[in-house]
């Protein structure tokens, strides 16, 4: 069975830490950073390898900070 692996790249400086993406992730693959960006926001990040590249986080992100990659292996 083909497995799907996803990967996100976050534009950390534009993230406002609203956490809407976290609520939208079906596999609990994202969380908030402990660090802050230069505006003082905690930013979203991948927290494990569960990402399937479903794009949900990117689609609900109001600031469009997430780029999503996906490969089948």
């Amino acid at each position: 069975m083909a497995k799907v692996i996803g990967e996100i790249v976050v534009d950390i400086e534009r993230c406002k830490g609203c956490e809407v993406c976290i609520a939208a992730c079906p596999v609990n693959a994202i969380g908030m950073s402990n660090e802050v960006n230069s505006k003082g926001y905690h930013y979203m990040q991948a927290i494990n390898d569960k990402c399937t590249g479903c794009t949900n986080c990117a689609i609900v992100c109001p600031d469009g900070v997430i780029t999503v990659y996906r490969v089948k292996i």
Binding site: R14, G17, C18, V60, C61, P62, D63, G64, I66
Partner: protein, 262 residues
């Protein structure tokens, strides 16, 4: 080690499944964290991008939080006086019928100060797309009561909650304009979940395609949050919206192809 190689292999141009459209500028959005405006802006631009109509699209920004919408959308835009976007859209479309014209307004803009322009543009059946963002509050001026503020809902000008006896009932402008023969497609959507964003985008796409087919006026209401105005965290505000706004402003199509479906 294997993990790193894997990631590098994935992060390749050909593996991108979602990337912010290039029709959104690089300017950092002026909206509060978690505000639906950014998402709505982006999906409008995705539609324009996917339809390949950047050079044929003219947008109108309102007065309100989205007053600077033209900073974020890489298309020709005009900034309206408060409430007048539908009148402007009317003129733009009449003078340049081959262009795609959309107005973007909040609840105070569209349903209070601009009610006359809204109703008459709808009633004339102007061949335009109207985007209506309803968050039940005046966000930009600091959380005052809007025409769409719910009964009992607190705002800075209804600090004890909206009293419908003295402050009137919230206005369901979308249901109202759906009654007019000039409207062709009327729908109410939201952008708080991925599924809703997809639905809203589909509705906006339909609204733009209706212009191409010269079908008349398409009206897309997006019920959205105002976490600053509502004084809630973004995720909490979305939950509050589902529990309180949606029962009063139910999602779904109201009018399709000129026929009321609700």
């Amino acid at each position: 080690m294997e993990e790193n190689i894997k990631k590098d292999n994935i992060r390749k141009e050909e593996n991108i499944v979602y990337k912010k459209t290039k029709l959104m500028t690089d300017k950092v959005l002026s909206y509060c964290p978690g505000c639906g405006h950014g998402t709505i802006h982006r999906i409008i631009m995705e539609v324009v991008d996917e339809m390949g109509i950047q050079s044929e699209t003219l947008g109108i920004a309102p007065v309100g939080c989205a007053v600077l919408a033209y900073e974020f959308m890489d298309i020709d835009m005009q900034e309206a006086a408060h409430g007048r976007a539908p009148a402007m859209a009317t003129a733009m479309k009449r003078l340049m019928p081959e262009k795609y014209v959309f107005s973007y307004q909040g609840d105070g803009d569209l349903a209070a100060i601009g009610t006359a322009e809204t109703i008459h543009a709808c009633n004339r059946g102007e061949n335009i797309t109207m985007i209506f963002v309803n968050n039940g509050i005046y966000g930009m001026t600091g959380g005052q009561m809007a025409p769409t503020t719910l009964p009992g809902m607190k705002s800075s000008t209804s600090p004890y909650g909206r009293d419908i006896v003295t402050m009137g009932n919230p206005l369901k402008i979308t249901e109202l304009i759906a009654q007019l023969p000039g409207t062709y497609f009327v729908t109410r959507q939201a952008v708080h979940t991925p599924a809703n964003v997809r639905k809203t985008k589909k509705a906006i796409r339909k609204a733009f395609e209706n212009q191409k087919l010269k079908k008349g006026l398409s009206f897309v209401e997006v019920v959205s949050n105002c976490n600053s105005g509502w004084k809630m965290a973004p995720v909490q505000s979305n939950e509050w919206m589902v529990e309180n706004m949606f029962p009063f402003y139910p999602l779904g199509d109201i009018k399709i192809e000129g026929e009321l479906v609700k």
